[in-house]
Symmetry: C3
Subunit: 392 residues, 3 copies
């Protein structure tokens, strides 16, 4: 017989979930590379690769132990597998922020910010939610918040950092002129589609793996229900994104359909294990609708976000966390709200100060001339598509 | 000890298989986006995303229960995992059809057709083969057909729907002129290659997961043999596609090599668990050869199919189903033939009527001027590669 | 209870690992398609597809039994799963070689070379290291070499074959002129990035699966540590590649960052199960640094290698094998060195003779005019991006 079968199976399952999440690295990279203009594609890709490398290294060296208190807190599976699973999350927080400031940010300051997020900022939030919890017993204790896989811990955290960055950096050159929004079309729709689906598939690992164990009948059901509900919110968000844009503009806008799906996926992430199998249809549809409504609102506020990350991650991170309080009987909406507020109240000012200082010392924002030339030329010395003639 | 270890392992295995199959969503999307002209790429991608969302939603709301009789028919694994695995199949049927009518179809009618397929048409076929079987005991009972993972249930079904669609819609503008076939080259070969390999990897989940359980020594062997045979038919189909085109044209045609591989994969899908490990070499080689021979035949019949779906899915779906009867001693070729005929006799007329009505009410076919301008401009208001200058 | 739980779990785990490795097929294809010029992209993709098909077929028909002595040598899991896992490796050896001679090689001779490698050359190396070992008891016995997943068996082997090919074929037309190296920029950076990450994820399966079993507490830990260390060496190599190029050129060179990561991954591959969780930081950093230093060295030697395969695979294959002897107490550096030398002394002359003969009979090198026109036009009759206007 096997010694320790649940240890073996849960280690295997965490490794499986981790590999799906790592698919989100090329997922984010392709999504963002497809959404920005060709002159900024190499820079966006470089940033994505560096975020993964630096955030993971910072978490290995500093952040993991800070977040969870020790390397040996985990007993049900291999500690290495648990680290891998948690490490796979870290870069995502910076991805959300970096995506929203692409086409105008320099690379080195983002690299420094990434290290700080991976070593300190994100682990702080993990510490007080899923981890060692240094706020335990204080009035700020938010461990009562239900957030299975990070609607707040990951997505709002990244979203608040993005708000700080946008306020400090301002919009891209020429984005808002005479009160009008200049449309800047995505340069490569196949990459956008590929990236969105790699993210989608990664989400199965993100949420399914967050159940923590598959090694009992109940847990196997919980994992399967979690993944099913995750997917349902995604398809529902896509359909909402489609219908709302179609009936307004009579066009099929694939970027809105995909961002609707991603909004639905973020929204379900706080509680996919706790819903019945129909509730995520509603949660996801609202998630997709929120994306459609908030994208123009942020533009009205002149908060320039080339990839829609504020609507997808921040708005739906909040919505998704509250939704557990609304739809699950034994989860308190006040606990959920408190979690949302406390995390925002910690992340936003910290991120603001960090980014402000980084911007002063290293100049985060590429100036207008540099933006006109393209970040690729300035920072990478390398075009993404050097042989293809530009039409614009 | 673990309670219910086979339940746990089979739930995990179904989730694993499902994630591989979901890779086929970007797989089909990239394959088709690479095969069509750049002016139709956004539309093709939009259709692929919408098919996944709508077909899955229809199956969740209506189709699954119709196909299998109840949500609780499955006892060996989590019912949610079993649903996920089955749901991952649904969109494929429409993918086969939509790919074959790309560059000339409008999106909304396809979306409506997708819902009908996911809620009703595909579940009808599943019902009488893998499911509740309302034809049980009647003269039309085809539950004796061996079709492990859908050479007939998925691939021929999609293929018959495509025949109906092509007959109703006609060819693309300018495809057949003065008795000649105008070659319309694929616009992006890397995407074609990427898409084909995502499909290939998805096939491991499709066929391996269809064994139904991995949780005994015999089943573990059956799953591994199934995946090995699946892969062998793919490589054999690729080699056949290569050799037959190379010796005729003295050129290496990667689209034929990849379609040959896909043809081999379709062909082996009815019985990969029942062959020894060398038979799939023959089955796949014939599958690849059928693609090479049938692509020009369909063009002679003026059945315009930009991605070769008729040859890959319909012809090889039939061949693969018959092959089990030929190569496996205790499977009757007559049962196989009966299954092929009954499914065709149900799907083709139903699909024809449905598509005919949809075409009358919503106009499925983009007219010649719209095709000239490109479906992207007409339907999406968005180019796939707006910054790249076109050479043609 | 389950009969034979470890057999079931290890079969499942081998299948999981194999699917990750198969992701390396599109991984190599995208990486190379992105690194070469657009006029050679279809050819590069065709070669990648054919390598997978032909190498796997050769291994199935001949190589596997030669390498391991019999189909039944494996008892802990399904023999079909073990074959699949081993088969997934084979094409990689040729990928390393073919990538390094791209933009100047004809396809048919590569196909013939692939068959010989899959049937004979690679199985010979597997035989004397992981397999039946016909050198057992002789002075050349290198079974004492620690090489978990092939720093030497896969990567050096491919690298030595590449050295032979480069010596026979010479550089690309116009690469070295008047003592200067003409820079030939990569044509599609998103594909390079996507490809590198598919390889990275595949590596988890490559190295994790090579532990051979996950079905005990110790093995589960070993697998998880192996994957963690693999990833750590990758991120460390990426950071080294970044910093060394950044401080020299003040630019962010994503191709060097990604090749640095791949160098780190190759370097850790000989012993990721034997290091503690910090050692791979050093091993990977040296791996990344070696890539940065050796790429210009090979150019000085006029060994033209468009994808950097010599530095990534050969140099780091050697470094990684020696590193186990340096960092692991009970592994002898002399055994490691002996393994490196013996494999090189077998592979290089054999590959040289085989490629020399193939080149004489079939002309492996495309001549200067053909290279100017592009291998796609000569060999495939098909452009990779026919609708995109070239700027150069």
């Amino acid at each position: 017989m096997l010694d320790n079968p649940s240890y073996i199976i849960d280690t295997f399952f965490a490794i499986f979930a981790m590999t799906l999440i790592i698919l989100m690295v090329p997922g984010f990279a392709m999504l963002e590379a497809g959404l920005v203009r060709t002159k900024n594609v190499s820079a966006v890709l470089t940033v994505n690769v560096m975020i993964y490398a630096i955030a993971s290294m910072a978490f290995l060296l500093v952040g993991y132990e800070y977040a969870f208190g020790s390397w040996d807190h985990q007993e049900g599976m291999s500690k290495y597998a648990y680290f891998l699973f948690q490490m796979a999350f870290v870069g995502k927080v910076v991805n959300i922020m970096s995506g929203g400031v692409s086409e105008r940010s320099r690379i080195l300051p983002l690299a420094i910010f990434t290290f700080i997020v991976g070593a300190f900022l994100y682990p702080t939030i993990v510490n007080i939610t899923w981890g060692a919890n240094f706020l335990s017993g204080t009035v700020l204790d938010i461990s009562g918040m239900a957030d299975l896989a990070g609607s707040t811990v990951i997505h709002s955290t990244g979203g608040w950092a993005l708000v700080a960055a946008i306020l400090i950096m301002g919009p891209r050159r020429g984005r808002y002129k005479n009160g009008k929004v200049r449309v800047i079309p995505a340069s490569n729709i196949p990459l956008v589609t590929l990236g969105a689906f790699l993210l989608w598939i990664g989400w199965f690992g993100f949420n399914g793996g967050s159940v923590g164990s598959i090694a009992s009948k109940d847990n196997a059901d919980a994992v399967a229900l979690t993944i099913m509900n995750t997917n349902t919110a995604g398809i529902s968000g896509a359909i909402a994104g489609w219908l709302l844009t179609y009936f307004r503009y009579r066009k099929f806008d694939i970027t809105m359909i995909l961002n609707g799906a991603l909004g639905g996926l973020v929204a379900v992430t706080a509680g996919p294990d706790q819903y019945d199998m129909y509730t995520p249809i509603l949660i996801g549809a609202i998630g997709g609708a929120l994306v459609v409504f908030f994208v123009p609102i942020f533009d009205k506020l002149k908060m320039d976000d080339p990839v829609g990350a504020l609507s997808v991650h921040l708005v739906n991170g909040i919505w998704g966390t509250l939704a557990v309080g609304i739809f699950v009987a034994d989860v308190s909406i006040l606990d959920q709200l408190k979690g949302v507020v406390v995390v925002g109240a910690i992340v936003f000012p910290l991120a603001f100060v960090i980014i402000y200082v980084i911007n002063k010392v290293f100049t985060l924002r590429a100036d207008d001339n540099e933006q006109l030339e393209g970040i690729d030329a300035i920072e990478c010395g390398m075009e993404a598509y050097p042989e293809f003639k530009r039409s614009i």
